[in-house]
């Protein structure tokens, strides 16, 4: 997959629009009405989307800022129906009421454009949850298989970014299908997977193949850009020894610091719902008369109701236990289960927290204390 392409900046719009003909193309854009940056389905906002700052449209493509929500909902929507059920009387025996179950799932071809490296890493972590273990999750996997990831190298360090502290890098293209580097009046397009290759080949009216010499040059420049971006980030946050965190957190499980760091938490789900790697869900039924749907919806572990059992017993009844579980889940438990931290350092949780809880500082404070 050594092929490298270039894309003129002016061709970005027609390229994405051409892709949108057979796929749902998600692009990061700012909604000027409320100043939020989010991934939007291109075909839904196409007429209202400007590709440059000057245009007075409601949405404007934003390839610099980080989206408020993570792109996880493209493959793992906030809620989705798992099955339909209906009670049906047996015409032969009117006393007998049978259950009919059916499953229907849409998994449109999707392309997520403009992913940052942290989001891409996060998708790989989601893949591990839903694609490995004792069974695969068919709902997630079907969407995931139909999704192509196009990343863009990231040169900006935002207030809450800390990807390098948890093993990431702003130009970490290891889980993407296509990786883009901004370069003057064009983008350099690196192909990483078969999926990416197929997409690039199908886009030959917009992407131009770079010759071997240019390709080599682009590649080394990309590495250099990545190195610089990482350095800029690392200078702000020292790298933690990722491998040791689980063990340290185990040792610090009974640390007195936990109370102090968690007591301001108001048990809302803002951090969980913007997190690109939080995957927990609830399964519920909505029934209307004799038919209904069983669906799953995101759930958040800081909620009192999350572990509340029907008997009234709640293993994590206070916020200290819940918040401790959350931190451990990200930096300890999932590391033990999957071999990776379930944090990519995007900093979204820090940004949205209503009460200024900074998970970086909290982990640091707990690890420092260690003693109960």
């Amino acid at each position: 997959m050594e092929t490298i392409y270039t894309l003129k900046k002016q061709d970005l719009k027609p390229w994405l629009e051409s892709l949108a003909q057979d796929s749902d193309v998600y692009v990061p854009a700012r909604d000027r009405d409320n100043s939020l940056v989010d991934f939007f389905n291109l075909s839904e906002i196409k007429d209202d989307l400007g590709f440059g700052q000057g245009q007075e449209k409601r949405y404007v493509l934003d390839l610099v800022e980080k989206t408020k929500r993570s792109p996880k909902q493209v493959m793992y929507p906030h809620w989705e129906d798992l099955l339909d059920f209906s009670y049906e009387k047996d015409p032969e025996n009117i006393e007998d009421e049978k259950i009919k179950l059916s499953v229907s799932q849409e998994a449109p071809n999707s392309i997520i454009f403009g992913l940052k490296s942290c989001d891409c890493q996060a998708i790989a972590k989601m893949d591990a949850v839903f694609g490995q273990g004792i069974v695969k999750d068919p709902y997630y996997m079907k969407r995931r298989e139909n999704t192509v990831l196009i990343s863009l190298g990231c040169d900006t360090v935002f207030e809450d970014c800390f990807c390098t502290a948890v093993g990431g890098s702003p130009y970490g293209f290891d889980h993407t299908d296509l990786g883009l580097m901004e370069d003057g009046d064009h983008y350099v397009v690196f192909v990483y997977t078969k999926k990416g290759n197929a997409l690039a080949q199908a886009s030959n009216s917009y992407l131009a193949k770079a010759d071997a010499k240019d390709g080599q040059d682009y590649k080394s420049r990309m590495q250099e850009r990545g190195r610089k971006a990482s350095e800029k980030m690392s200078s702000m946050w020292p790298k933690t020894a990722v491998e040791d965190m689980a063990e340290h957190l185990n040792k610090a499980f009974d640390a007195s610091q936990w109370k102090k760091v968690s007591q301001q938490c108001i048990s809302c789900g803002a951090c969980t719902f913007v997190c690109p790697t939080c995957y927990c869900f609830d399964i519920r039924d909505d029934k209307d008369n004799r038919q209904g749907k069983r669906y799953r919806c995101w759930d958040f572990c800081t909620s009192y109701l999350y572990t509340l059992e029907a008997s009234g017993h709640n293993p994590r009844e206070d916020i200290q236990k819940r918040y401790k579980n959350k931190v451990n889940c990200k930096y300890n438990y999932n590391f033990q289960r999957q071999g990776h931290l379930y944090c990519v350092g995007c900093g979204r949780c820090v940004e949205v927290c209503p009460v200024d809880m900074d998970i970086r500082q909290i982990v640091a404070a707990v690890l420092k204390s260690k003693q109960p």
């Binding site: 006393e95 004792i134 399964i283 572990t307």
Partner: protein, 290 residues
């Protein structure tokens, strides 16, 4: 511990969609206590029924469509997987819906889920079972398994505790076991009452008085969290080795297949790493399991 991957065993979970339940028909309901009811169900699809099997200790997601799913242990003998029994205490929405079922109604079942008691590894050993209230449910298929393979095990002792005589589940079984030579049954209730001539006192206290020998014995316990906690303490006191003490745990489980993340105790998921745990395993997890 018997760590066979559950997908390899022959059961409905091997289906492509782990969230899709099998439909089962309620055959019989039994009122165990004023607020506990047992429901016997049979898978509706004949071929599913024929290929279904489970092991003592495994659980199922049982649902009344429209009320939601909850986790219950399959408490009927594993030797007859054609009829599955669940015992529920009427405490929430779904348990109430299940309690109100009558024969002929349909339910959804996703099973079997989770691991099971490592019965084979325990062969040749004495088995001590300590159950409290509805906590006898997960132990019931284990007791049946041992009784059915009686020669493979040494002494089988069951200490069963309940608040009052009326709060005891499976009274018919208890009666049978009382008369049987194959099982030593001791029963206790919290406070003395008229007509009760067995033990009186909280389960851990009675256990301590019984002083079972830890030599070549495996102890298994299940009951309300507080009972498990003190029973385990007594077993430690009686010098039982943590690797020979087992319990089966409960958490608010949703997917049952290790995806939804809800039932974790530390790094373990109760739905795939449990519900059966040895005390040795649990002691390694920093998060308290009670």
């Amino acid at each position: 511990m018997d760590k066979t991957n559950i997908v390899e065993s022959k059961h409905v979970m091997a289906k492509e969609n782990p969230y899709l339940p099998s439909v089962a028909v309620v055959k019989k309901t039994i009122k165990e206590t004023p607020n506990i009811i047992s429901v016997q169900v049979m898978l509706e699809d004949e071929s599913e029924r024929d290929s279904f099997s489970f092991k003592p200790g495994q659980v199922a997601q049982l649902s009344v469509f429209g009320s939601g799913e909850s986790t219950f242990v399959i408490n009927s003998p594993a030797s007859d997987p054609s009829m599955l029994q669940f015992t529920v205490m009427k405490v929430g929405v779904n348990t109430t819906a299940i309690s109100n079922l009558s024969p002929g109604e349909r339910v959804g079942i996703r099973a079997p889920l989770g691991n099971w008691f490592p019965c084979q590894a325990w062969e040749g050993k004495k088995i001590l079972i300590v159950g409290g209230g509805i906590g006898l449910a997960p132990l019931r298929p284990l007791i049946f398994h041992i009784l059915e393979n009686r020669k493979k095990y040494k002494d089988l002792t069951l200490l069963y505790a309940a608040k009052t005589p009326d709060d005891r589940c499976y009274k018919a079984d208890l009666k049978q076991w009382e008369a049987s030579k194959d099982i030593n049954l001791a029963q206790t209730i919290d406070t003395a009452c008229h007509g009760w001539d067995e033990e009186v006192g909280l389960c851990p206290h009675v256990l301590e008085k019984m002083k079972p020998s830890p030599e070549g014995t495996v102890a298994v316990t299940c009951g309300p969290p507080i009972m498990i906690k003190f029973t385990l303490e007594v077993l430690k006191k009686l010098n039982f080795d943590s690797s020979h003490v087992y319990t089966t745990l409960e958490r608010r489980m949703k997917c049952g297949v290790g995806k939804c993340g809800r039932c974790n105790i530390g790094e373990k998921f109760v739905c795939v790493d449990g519900p059966v745990f040895s005390l040795e395993e649990l002691e390694k997890i920093p998060e308290p399991f009670i």
